[in-house]
């Protein structure tokens, strides 16, 4: 295997900085996807393999809104709103029946949903990937004469993801609703006995997760284009990031996302894009061998 040692002239440093910044901004999107997966896992103990297909769908809707004359922000808002509704519908109609059963069945249902949504998107909008506008300029900042590979749009991406994570944290830790949602996730039976409408909390959990996912979709759409299968790698990387962080902690999603983003950016930059999936596998194996429950897993067992 060829291994090019990075040159440490000013070119090398610029390249390293570029890759780092790029890794942070793609990592932010992985973190958002991972966050959506963690939210659903904590609430219903299900891995939502259909997450990628769901936010592909909402991004398509946003694209349709923008193409028919709406502003970017209108499309953005519509995507988030549709995500919220779609998440609630999916939980209520489909997932409710497989919660609490053999987990493999939930996996199959989610896979079926993924396939179905991608097929429906193909039927409505066709299979050719289409472009999606970014929120802000994608022309990199100029710092001291050199143009870095980090643009206003990337700043927006990172800030939005951070803001969302903080908002969710505030929701869960400081509000009555958040307390009920956490209780419903940790001990649904006990929560019921305390009058918490657990079913509604689970639906809300899915709706929020899907909203976060839609956010990720809109943020990444400019770079990967919008098509029925275009977001599949994002789901794989988001899932990998969630596992790296440990499925039970939202902080894990954030750290896992950024870590994965950085590693993949460096590998892609120094070794070539074809090794990116292999690098993800290696990173995942290394992390899990050291901590089988992910980076932020606790060894404390749940006591009844």
């Amino acid at each position: 295997m060829d291994w090019h040692a990075p040159t440490w002239g000013s070119e090398g440093v610029t390249k390293f900085i570029d890759l780092t910044l790029n890794g942070i901004s793609t990592g932010a999107v992985y973190a958002a996807v991972a966050l959506a997966l963690v939210l659903i896992w904590r609430a219903t103990r299900i891995v939502n393999f259909a997450q990628g297909a769901m936010f592909m769908f909402t991004t398509f809707i946003a694209s349709a809104v923008i193409d028919s004359g709406g502003s970017y922000w209108l499309g953005f808002a519509v995507a988030l709103a549709c995500g919220f509704v779609l998440g609630a519908l999916v939980e209520r109609i489909v997932i409710r029946r497989v919660e609490g059963g053999p987990p493999l069945n939930a996996v199959i249902v989610a896979l079926g949903l993924l396939i179905l949504l991608e097929a429906i998107a193909g039927m409505i909008w066709g299979n050719t990937p289409r472009s999606f506008p970014p929120a802000f300029s994608i022309r990199g900042y100029e710092i001291g004469g050199t143009r870095v590979l980090f643009a206003p749009n990337d700043t927006f991406t990172v800030l939005v993801v951070i803001g969302t994570a903080l908002a969710l944290r505030a929701l869960f830790q400081r509000t009555k609703l958040g307390l009920q949602m956490r209780a419903a996730a940790f001990q649904p039976e006990v929560a019921r006995m305390l009058g918490v409408r657990v079913g509604r909390m689970l639906t809300l959990g899915w709706a929020l997760a899907a909203l976060v996912g839609s956010l990720a979709g809109v943020l990444i759409a400019p770079s990967v284009f919008v098509g029925p299968n275009q977001f599949d790698p994002l789901l794989v990387f988001g899932f990998t990031a969630a596992i790296i962080g440990g499925l039970d902690r939202p902080e894990g999603a954030a750290v896992g996302g950024v870590l994965l983003g950085l590693v993949l950016s460096y590998v892609s930059g120094y070794e070539g894009a074809s090794l990116v999936t292999l690098a993800a596998l290696v990173l995942l194996v290394v992390v899990l061998m050291i901590r089988p429950g992910g980076l932020f897993s606790s060894t404390r067992e749940r006591q009844v």
Partner: protein, 375 residues
Amino acid sequence: MRLPSRIRPPRLTLARSLGFVLLAAVVLALVSEALSSYNDLQLANGAYYFAVLAGLTLLTGLSGQISLGHGALMAVGAYTVALLIGNEHWPVLPALIAAVLTSAVVGVLVGAAATRLRGPYLAGVTLAFAVGLPALAGKYPSTFGGANGLVINPPTSPSWLGQSFPLERWEAWIACAGALVVLFAIYNLVHSAVGRSLQAVRDDEIAASLCGLRVARLQTLAFVVSAACAGLAGGLLTLVLQLAAPGAFTLGLSLALLTGVVLGGLGSILGAIWGAALLVLLPIWSNDIAHAFSFSTNVTNNLPLAIYGLVLILAMLLWPSGLQGALGLLGLRVSTSLKNRASTRYPVGGAGQERAAARRGGASPPQGREEEEVR
């Protein structure tokens, strides 16, 4: 909860199962004579699907370890056969044995890593494996043929079968032979002490290890066996298609294998047969349906997938135990499975098992599971 089954064949000993397999071989040979070339090809496809599904159902159903990466394991066997037959001109049988061995070795590696992982973490690793391993083909295009893959010459039927013996029928014979070997091996493994030990580990690891079972070894063994089956299936696929290319071993294949195992009925050999049949026939049927109506191109192209997705969702909602379970409800199921319930490494219900699951890292199902009432 065990569904009552009306017909239960007597437990077959090693010798009797061998006899059954030989009988099945004769029957399949006769059937293949009667089928057209196209259908012989479908038979071959079904045969290698069965080979990998049987191993996968052993791993996921009996041993309770989820794998989203068996497509990549098939790729290992496929490329082994392609390289040995294409480059080194090995004959078919040694090449297939080599495929089994190489994928078994990979299975040891994956299995060893898997023993420390549970549930979704194992799923994540096997998923990354399914997506990452085929990347090697792209990284070393000279060896692995890059995106176009490796082509081999079609297998030639032996002269004593006659000159005009159709290629497809010979491929069906090879594939069915492989499938029957797998059937024999898996059946006897399931009904042996090892098989029972695997189930014991699946149901309660801690209790099993307290009884003296070597948990990690058994779990790795399950992986190795299922990887060997997958490798054989991959090798058979290469023989049938005369091609080993990354496009045939996408993540989609791994996921399709998993759906086949669950739809057919997890943990049962008959379930693997149903699953294989579904994987071959469902795309054909949905394609036929799509083309029967004159829809727009977009719709026609995507309708088969939409049907497949819908089938998966409905099947899981209506028949959670797969086809085997559904037949059982009709009193028609022929039981070949030892297990009492399909469970992966998340036991369903039972306080002791929930505590055990919690010790493994909180992978127990939510309590307070209500009836199917819509709130």
